[in-house]
Each structure stands twice: as C-alpha cells, then as structure tokens.
Point group: C3
Chain length 231, copies 3
Amino acid sequence: MIAPIPIDIGSALKTLVLVFDLVGTFVFALSGAASGVKRQLDLFGVLVLSFAAGNFGGVLRDLLIGATPPAALSDRRYLAASLLAGLITFLWYPAVRRLRSAVLIFDGAGLALFSVSGAQKALAFGIDPLMAALLGMLTGIGGGMVRDVLLSDVPVVLRSDIYAVAAFAGASVVVAGDALQLPATAMACAGAAICFGLRMAALRLGWHLPVAGPPGKPAPKPDTAKEDPDR
Amino acid sequence: MIAPIPIDIGSALKTLVLVFDLVGTFVFALSGAASGVKRQLDLFGVLVLSFAAGNFGGVLRDLLIGATPPAALSDRRYLAASLLAGLITFLWYPAVRRLRSAVLIFDGAGLALFSVSGAQKALAFGIDPLMAALLGMLTGIGGGMVRDVLLSDVPVVLRSDIYAVAAFAGASVVVAGDALQLPATAMACAGAAICFGLRMAALRLGWHLPVAGPPGKPAPKPDTAKEDPDR
Amino acid sequence: MIAPIPIDIGSALKTLVLVFDLVGTFVFALSGAASGVKRQLDLFGVLVLSFAAGNFGGVLRDLLIGATPPAALSDRRYLAASLLAGLITFLWYPAVRRLRSAVLIFDGAGLALFSVSGAQKALAFGIDPLMAALLGMLTGIGGGMVRDVLLSDVPVVLRSDIYAVAAFAGASVVVAGDALQLPATAMACAGAAICFGLRMAALRLGWHLPVAGPPGKPAPKPDTAKEDPDR
C-alpha cells in the first residue's frame, strides 16, 4: 500500500491564488489591449493600456493605503502577464474578439479575485472596514477606469450594469468575515463566489442599476455595454 | 445670580470647522452628482462622482505630501456626506438644480474652508510655504478636477473665472500668517473670508482671467461657466 | 606662470545636470502651455498645464516609489521654470510656435535627461531593475500624458512615433550599467545620448511603431504627430 502524498493545503491554495491573480491580470490586460487596438494606438500604446488595465486597480489601492512601491512594480510576473496579453491582442485581435464570451467569464473571475484580495490587503494595512471594502472594489474596477480615462472615455463602470456592485459585495464578505473573526480563507472563497455569481447573473439576466437622466433626454440603453467584449 | 456657563472657544471652533468641512464635502459632492446625472450615469456612477468631487482635493493633497491613508478614507462622515449628496441629487435632480444660487454660495464656502485647511495640513507636514499655498489651492479645486477628468471633460477650473485664484489667495494668507508667526486661527478665518469674498465678488461681477486664443479663433465666452449650477 | 585653476568635475557635472533638468522642465512646460493656449484655457489653466507637463513625470514616479513629497514640490526652481514657460507662451504664443524645431530638439534633450535621472532615482529607492527602467521612461513621458489627460485627449505618446521607446532605451542603459557595476556617470551620459539620438533619428526619418487597426478601418497616419510643435 502506498502512503498518501501529504498535500500542503495552504501552499496549494497560495499557488491557486497566484494563478488566479495572474489570470485576472492577463484577462484585464486583454480588455485594455483590445480597447487600444480599437482606438488604433501603436504597439507601445497598446502595451501601456494592457499594463494599466491589468494592474492599476491594485496600484491605486496601494497608493491610497501607502503601500509603496505597489506590488505590480515589485513582481515581474504581473508585467509579463500584462505584456503577453497586449502582444497577443495586438497580433491576433480578431481571434481575441471572437473569444469574447470566454473573456467575459474570466473577467468576472478576475474581478472576484481582485476585489477579495484588495479588501484583504487594505484590512492588513489597518484601514477602516467599510473603506477596506470600498478599496477592494476599487482594486477590481480601477484598472478598467484608468484604461478608459487614458482613452478619454467616461469609465464604462460608471454607466452600466452590475459590475462594481458585485465587486463591493465580494469585498464586503471578506470584511464582514474579518470583523466576525471567521476563517479568512473560507470567507475569501465565499466573497469571490458571491462576486463572480452576481456578475455572471447580471450578464445573463441583463441586470443593471437605475439611471437618472435629466428630464427631456431619453435614458441610454444600459445593457449595450454588457456585450462589450473588452470590458 | 446664575454663574455664566464657561464656553470652550477652542472646542466650539473645532466643531464649527468640522461642520463647515462636512458641508463643503456635501456641496462639492452635489456638484459631482449633478454632473453624473446630467451625463446619465447609473446610480453607482453618480455616487462615485459624488465621492470624488467631495473628497479628491484632499486625497490628492494627502498623496502628494505622503499622508497616507488620506483623511477621507479614515473618517466615515465624509463618505456619508458624499453619498447623501449623491442620493439626494439622484432622486431629486430638478430640485437640486433649482437651488443653484444657494449651492454656489455654499460651494464658495467649501472652497474657502478646503483651501485654508489644505494649506494648514501641508504646513504641518513641513512642506515649503509657497508649495503649501498651492497645495491648499489644490485641496479646494482638486475634487472638481477629478470629477471633470472622470467625465472626460477639460476641468472647468482651467478655463473660467476666478475660482482657483480665490483658493490660492485664501491659502496664501494662512501660509503668510504662519511665516510671520501670527495667530493661526485668526489667519485661517481671514484666509477663508478673503477666498469666499473673492469668489462671491467674481460671481457677482463676472470677473475672469484673461484667455489667450491662438490667432484666427474667436475667444470663448468665459462667463458662461459662472452660471453652471454644478460647479 | 599661473597655476591652473582646479576644476571640480563632480560639482561641474552636478550643475550641468541641474541646468539640463531645469531646461527640460522649461521645455516640457512650453509644450503644456502651448496645448493650453490652443484649447483656449485662461491664464490659470495655462499655468497648470505648464506645471503638469513640466513636472508630473517625476511626480508620478515619486508617488509610485513612495518618495513623498515629490521633488517638484520641494525645490521652487522647477515651479519657477514651469511658470516662466507658461507666461512666455501665454504672452507670445505665435513666437513660441515659430520656434517649434528648436523646441523639438530641447524636448528630446529633456526626454533624455528625465529618463536617465528617473531611472537613477528609482534604482536608488531599491526598485527592481526592469521596473526602474520603466519608471525612468515614465519620468520622461508622464508629464505629457498628464497634460493630455487634463485636456481630455488620448495621450499622444500612445499613438505616435518613437518617443517612449527612446526614453526606455536611455533608462535601460542606466539600469544595465548599474547591474554591471559600470561607472554611473558614464552610463548616464551614454543613456542620455542614446535616448536623444534615437529621438532625433525618429523625428528626422519618420520612424514609428506599428499600429494595429481593427479590420475595416483605415490605419491613421502616425507621422502627423511628429510635426506637432507642442509635443
């Protein structure tokens, strides 16, 4: 009889989180690169947008909590994942476009992971719990916001469906778990699952937040953004 | 004969400053929310603009002087004031619009207080006096600039009447008083009064800075912005 | 016979670097001011763009590496150089426009110096070498990016010719020299020369990076930007 190989759960989880984190960065970077290609930037511009979309959620969080230099500047794997996504999109944009459904799913996974890990890092820096949940949300949505500001667009997250709310919900679970001293890993998984589930449901069912337009102007169609492959 | 109740002037002033600070945040947040409603953002987008307009002047100052995490992330009352302003504007935009004259007055008060308190904080962090005055100005105008950048507009403060100049004047009084070792509270009041007075006079009398247009193009009408209720 | 005056090479070089640094700030500020005049900002707006274009490359670098307050807020000479450039452009825009060729040359020199000094500062703060090279590049291109974002334009550096690449090349020489423990001053000069030479060659020969447009849209003419006097 063969002795079972002892599995180090903590280490396996750590690797899993790193893989998810890099996949999230990669997918967010795809969205940045695709926006850059659509706006006909040159190769450098496309790579800048890849890096910004993939990493600036965390960079903004780290600047706000005083964790300088930001993690994205210390670990080259995030740079590598971003540039790889940028190059692939630059070279094979039509193929990336065709994979939009898969990209949206991975984007939701990235959002879930970033929001949860962002909230955890903010808590670790002693930030007020409510603000930590908001910083978790910012970690998830900030990269896309910087991408849109660089392209001189109003950030798409400010005008369409359930994206930031899903990020906030996931981050809130982590923060609540911390306040109630529940096991951190379990709450992180629960938070990520809730964020991902909300985001997928919003995409499937076309959920969106109310829009208040000034009287006399028709409301925009908020569901147009949900088909955007580059979100 | 009843003994007079001893009044703690210092504590009363502190409360007064806090009240003004929250009112300033609230009014600045109103301007952010109104811009968001006009651009037909969803509820989340309107709240983000409220928070950004109400708090990012101070956040930018704190990032620049290294005071992380910024005050707006440590005290929930600023978040509460911002979100309240955002919700009110989202729900009752026409009513907020009708109150534009009152909003402009409170906006001037917020500008005065933010500029003065921003300069004080920069001085307390050992910043060069001239730069402290500029950081005071940034505290007053930065929230509106972030609001405009998020909406993909050129910041209105860069192209119209006496707004930043009033903020700089108020902050300069504080800095000069500090250099001359005059009483801080009195100089803060004087600085705020000068900023507020300049701003009100500029609104009433249509003062504005010169505009240099390239030859061949007509100059814009710089006074159109002064009636903007959402500034 | 007269004894030769001893020349302090180190001190002379330091003065030379300061002069170049201020000239670089001045020329970058010219570009910011010219953009502001073209967009018909008022005097305050023009001065803000001057300061942003002249200094925000370094400010962004300093925020990211945690070197707060940024150098531009500690030394008034940078403020003075920026405001001088802004005033000159505001008052005599047509003359500044006519000097566009000279400005482009000085702009290349500023790019070279900022990239090299930016990489050196990042290394001094213990940043990973590859990231230090990227931060050197950011020091060179960041001011122009902030200028463009404030004007609600897509940063010109993201869509045209060899500008960021020259900055990255120059910064990389500094970083490589540091890794190989070569003399810092010589490598800084070599890096600056390579950046400047690449930039001038790109201008002369119309070099630019490839642009990937989505199918069905014609590619833009990437060389139009290279004649822009306000870059």
